[in-house]
């Protein structure tokens, strides 16, 4: 199998670009919503066949074993080609978690199915009363014979309606002194009796997330990942790289490109007021690129990312929102049109970047939570 890490960055980028551009179905490029499994299954399997489905996994488990810098190139090219996000919790969360914290039996049982596209995972973290304060979660799991019995509910579970499995943070010790203690990480088959599901329609009209209810749901005790009561550590283990990824300028850049095209078509660059606001936003984005580059260099040198990487997520998503808002304003009356519309001969969807940018400041630790983290761990402000 090819060791892509031995390729030059340019050579790897060229191969990734060619593959993603030609391979990803044209009708789904730059889709303004998450793809359903039925829509992306063929693409998932094509990536799997090429050995490219799990770029971040080690080769021994069927991944590409990419170095962080090659992984960034992979992600940049993936987004550049307009390739949509698939139900990827198995690839981004379950795989790396089992590789790091699971046992051989779990790895053997679950990893090949993820690679093959036979198992689609979703994430059971948030609850109706445990969002930003995730550690206060109340879904509980009690050992009964050889099974854990789970009761409670999880919410904002993206793509649960396409999932075959869910990983769940559940309280296993209600007597623990700190709320972060006494939480365990469990794997559950979605077909288990007692699981029910309702979809939640989001503000853009798409059904991407769900609420999942657990009523005496039994999962074998072999599905406990890591130590009992130590699930919080596992949940926090993989966040740094996720924040670097969310903090990439790629997503706001797509909004900027739309804004530039619209402004040119509508002759807004003749409007000094618009130019001033546009320039400010463009510089906000370019300067994010400079800052992002500094963290990428760090990754490239093999240095660990500290908590300060959160600044990328805050600024990137904030800039994305401001760009999407100016895009709507730049459309004047067209800024109220839902879906595709034609402005001066250009087909544009002025509202979807607005919708797509809203959850970015909420998920993965809201921007306010990121600021708390930065204040505490980077600026060392007292609590």
């Amino acid at each position: 199998m090819t060791d892509y890490n031995t390729l030059s960055d340019d050579a790897f980028r060229a191969e990734a670009r060619a593959f993603f551009e030609a391979g990803f179905p044209a009708e789904y490029k730059f889709l303004p919503r998450r793809m359903r499994w039925a829509e992306c299954r063929d693409w998932y399997l094509a990536l799997s066949k090429k050995g490219w489905i799990a770029p971040n996994w080690p080769k021994e488990h069927g991944g590409m074993g990419l170095s962080p810098s090659k992984l960034l190139i992979y992600m940049e090219e993936y987004e550049r080609a307009g390739a949509g996000r698939m139900p990827d919790q198995g690839l981004t969360m379950v795989g790396p978690t089992l590789i790091r914290f699971g046992n051989d039996e779990q790895r053997k049982r679950y990893l090949p199915k993820i690679i093959a596209g036979d198992a689609i995972w979703c994430q059971g973290y948030s609850e109706p009363n445990a969002g930003s304060d995730l550690a206060s979660l109340r879904t509980e799991a009690v050992l009964d014979g050889n099974d854990y019995v789970i009761n409670g509910s999880k919410i904002w579970t993206s793509m649960a309606h396409d999932a075959t499995n869910i990983y769940v943070l559940a309280r296993t010790d209600k007597q623990a002194k700190k709320k972060q203690e006494g939480i365990s990480f469990l794997l559950v088959d979605m077909k288990t009796p007692g699981i029910t599901l309702r979809t939640i329609r989001n503000i853009a009209g798409h059904e991407e997330f769900c609420q999942v209810f657990f009523d005496n749901v039994r999962t074998p005790k072999e599905n406990l990942v890591g130590e009992l009561h130590k699930g919080w550590t596992i949940a926090k283990g993989l966040l740094g790289f996720e924040r670097l990824n969310i903090g990439s300028p790629r997503r706001p850049l797509q909004a900027l490109e739309k804004l530039e095209a619209l402004a040119a078509a509508r002759h807004l660059f003749d409007d000094a007021g618009f130019v001033e606001r546009f320039t400010q936003l463009k510089l906000d984005l370019l300067d994010l690129g400079s800052l992002y580059g500094r963290y990428v260099d760090k990754v490239r040198r093999g240095e660990a990312l500290g908590q300060d990487v959160s600044i990328l997520k805050v600024w990137s998503m904030d800039t994305y929102q401001r760009l999407s808002e100016l895009l709507i304003e730049a459309g004047d009356e067209f800024g109220a049109v839902e879906g595709d519309t034609t402005v001066e001969g250009e087909t544009v969807d002025l509202i979807s970047p607005f919708y797509n940018s809203r959850p970015g400041t909420i998920y993965g630790g809201s921007n306010e939570i990121q600021r708390n983290i930065l204040a505490k761990y980077v600026l060392n402000l007292p609590s």
């Binding site: 546009f278 320039t279 400010q280 463009k282 600021r371 204040a375 600026l379 007292p382």
Partner: protein, 375 residues
Amino acid sequence: MTENDHSAMLRDSVANFCRDPDLARVRAIGQNHAEFDPAQWRQLADMGWLSILVPESAGGLGLGLSEAAIVAEGLGRALTPEPYTAVAVLSARLLADCQSSSLAVELLGGLASGECVAIAALQEAAGDFQSHSVTAKAISFEGGYRLNGNKQFAIGAAGASGFIVQALLDNKAALFWVPAGTSGCATGYTALADGRRYGSVSLADVSLPADHLLAEGPSVRGIIDKAVDHAAAIASAELVGLLKRTQEMSLDYLKTRVQFGKAIGSFQVLQHRAVDLYIQQELADAVLREGIAAMDAGLDASARAATVSRIKARCAEAALQITRAAIQFHGAIGFTEDCDVGLYVKRAMTLSAWLGNPRAHRQRYAATAIRQEAA
């Protein structure tokens, strides 16, 4: 030694020099006009810092903007009032590019040794930081030249040995050396927020010998544009030095000031404001370093202009935000003359206004980068 070793040594010596700055002196310059201290200037020269951008052929070190930025960041941190950027960057770059003038080489030697404090007097109109509009005139006169005109916004004029002046010669741009004290050359001063002063130079029938013409013709525009861009970038390094110091002062205060029985830095609204300013600090630092490295590696004129405008717009805006927020973080004490915060607020204002404020640089960025792309 590698280039990095050189930079690390320079960084160390700058840090040493700028430790425990004499802020009492900085506070007093508004009254005593001692903004230029010859002894301090001699020290900067002895450290070799004035020579960084002077070519080796003219007795300098021939280093890059990266090294000048290290010095400027330290001096900005220490609020050093001497015109490092005005002389060792703006004037040094102007003179270094006046290649056919033997006087320019001589002046550069003096600039490097600290004996010649050359100050550029290019600008005539507010907002025109590249000095595109020129009304000052030179005519050939008795084997030399005679100059008439008015210049303003010359930082560092108080210690000037002479001025590098732009004037039209036969309707074409030209640069002249006008020694301070030349008959007909008068310097006026305008007090600035930080106690330093803009110099305005009025030239009334100033007679100069022929060799005082430093450059003329079409090359002058390019010489000025480059020197001003480089100086604006290094002024931004001063801004980054001072904004980092200010942010440190704010964070220290947030950690120690107690109200409602707690350190005020425990309050979330202040924490989040401090974080937002920290993000601006990191953006400024990242843009500055990336841009300066790119300039040292070589950029064409329009890429350089776009880069410098990004740098100055971000660094100045961040410095203004961070220093102004520092007043608020410190509360009433932050509004007193005794509090050091005010010194940083005021220096941020003068450095921001000099060589193009954030608005002017965003406008130039739009004119060079955005409209061209759109066209």
